[in-house]
Symmetry: C2
């Protein structure tokens, strides 16, 4: 099984992931937020790569069933309904809604994978569900880390490494890694004992703490709290009908005062 | 002391490194070859980012004192005098010569750092000399790994991590790392006990073994065999006059049959 990791969407052309099996990771916070939104009953997530695209797409859809969600510099975009905190995507806010999703890195990575054969969105919160999904594919895997603009993000690499470790633990197959996959595996092994400490020390983790999103950083670190696989189906990300969750997911410790909108 | 690492020149704009202290790393093989060429008496290395630039620049210089060196896909470029193997850059070949240097990744990274305040070229072969050079600067450091086109190269990251480890061992100062620097440090710690095994297992290491450059991979792995610091002075890379070596450096195990030119 070949596993290739890419630390930033800027490393690859739009068509590189065409017809491949892809996992997109943006641990802080887009992957986590997409998983929570779908678990809480959102109909679908429509990832876009620019605010202009978000405005254009939402102009073509019915206003009362469409929300715009996303961030710039970690904060909600002016004129949008929701930011990029999983705590905002409650059942009350998102049930039955199409969400046009525009974040600096995560939605751009999801958009980059739009020609994939299969694409799933992964964070620590749904990592076992995604690993099971990958195993069913019995094929090579391409993991696209969102990174931060063109830059490497340690938390995304560590999450990629954890996926690799879980596949290696369970599969009796030979693996062939590219350099980034080998590095991700090493980086996960080095920080597996204290993921929260790692998350609080990374460039983006520190930034989120600074702007008041401590609870988000904690929530995004919890392993297997949201047991669904957001999948690319057509042009949108959703849960396939036969896998819909029985009950909505309520993020732990909801405290709306923590959600900064300035 | 702030240390930022970048895993590919594609991560940064041309002017980002302006007025900064920069170390450029392309372990396999450009960094190593530049160090050997200067140790063996080359007057200067002129890094360019395209073959067209190499041809243009050499047209403006006197033919008998100018060589063109470099590679595409690891092999010598048609019409060039030298490839990218350190074994080709013997005293007989390079003494007193200006070398226009064009490689897929290494010379492009050196070219990207052309506006730096200080720039040194580092590989394992001259790592202690470069670390001593950095210490004299008493300032923040930016390490640019050449990578492979837009991609991460493990051997460059490990070399960056070794530089960081050596600075930390010697300096009684506080360090502030970006995510890539923290990752590089971890990756070095994980492979420090067997660098040659690592080098033979990386994407580019395996490719060089495939095309017959086993001796190059070994030579590029040897620590501190070429005790000079190639520095950016004006638009060229050279050894400052007061640091010129007393005698030329003869790479170990020269066997010209190993140098493939097909």
């Amino acid at each position: 099984m070949k596993i290739e990791v890419f630390f930033s969407p800027s490393q690859i052309d739009d068509l590189f992931l065409r017809d491949k099996n892809v996992v997109v990771i943006d641990v802080l916070r887009a992957s986590t937020t997409v998983a929570v939104a779908l678990k809480n009953g959102a109909k679908e997530i429509i990832p876009v790569n620019t605010i202009e695209s978000a405005v254009k797409v939402s102009g073509n859809l019915f206003g009362d069933v469409v929300l715009r969600g996303g961030e710039r510099n970690g904060k909600i975009i002016e004129g949008f309904n929701l930011g990029n905190s999983p705590f905002e995507y409650t059942p009350e806010a998102v049930k039955g809604k199409s969400i046009i999703f525009c974040t600096t890195n995560g939605s751009t990575a999801m958009w980059k994978a739009r020609y994939a054969k299969n694409m799933a969105v992964a964070g620590f919160v749904n990592i076992s569900a995604v690993v099971n999904y990958i195993k069913e594919l019995h094929d090579d895997l391409y993991i696209l880390c969102a990174g931060k603009q063109t830059h490497f993000c340690l938390e995304d690499a560590v999450c990629a490494g954890m996926i690799i470790k879980m596949l290696m633990d369970r599969d009796d197959v030979e693996f062939d890694f590219n350099d980034s996959a080998a590095a991700a595996y090493t980086l996960y092994k080095n920080s597996s004992k204290n993921l929260l400490k790692l998350m609080r020390s990374t460039d983006h983790g520190k930034y989120l703490l600074e702007i008041g999103f401590e609870k988000d950083v904690e929530f995004c670190t919890n392993v297997d709290t949201v047991d669904i696989v957001p999948e690319l189906i057509g042009n949108v990300i959703k849960i396939p009908k036969n896998n819909l969750p029985e009950k909505p997911h309520i993020p732990i410790s909801i405290d709306t005062n923590l959600i900064k909108r300035d």
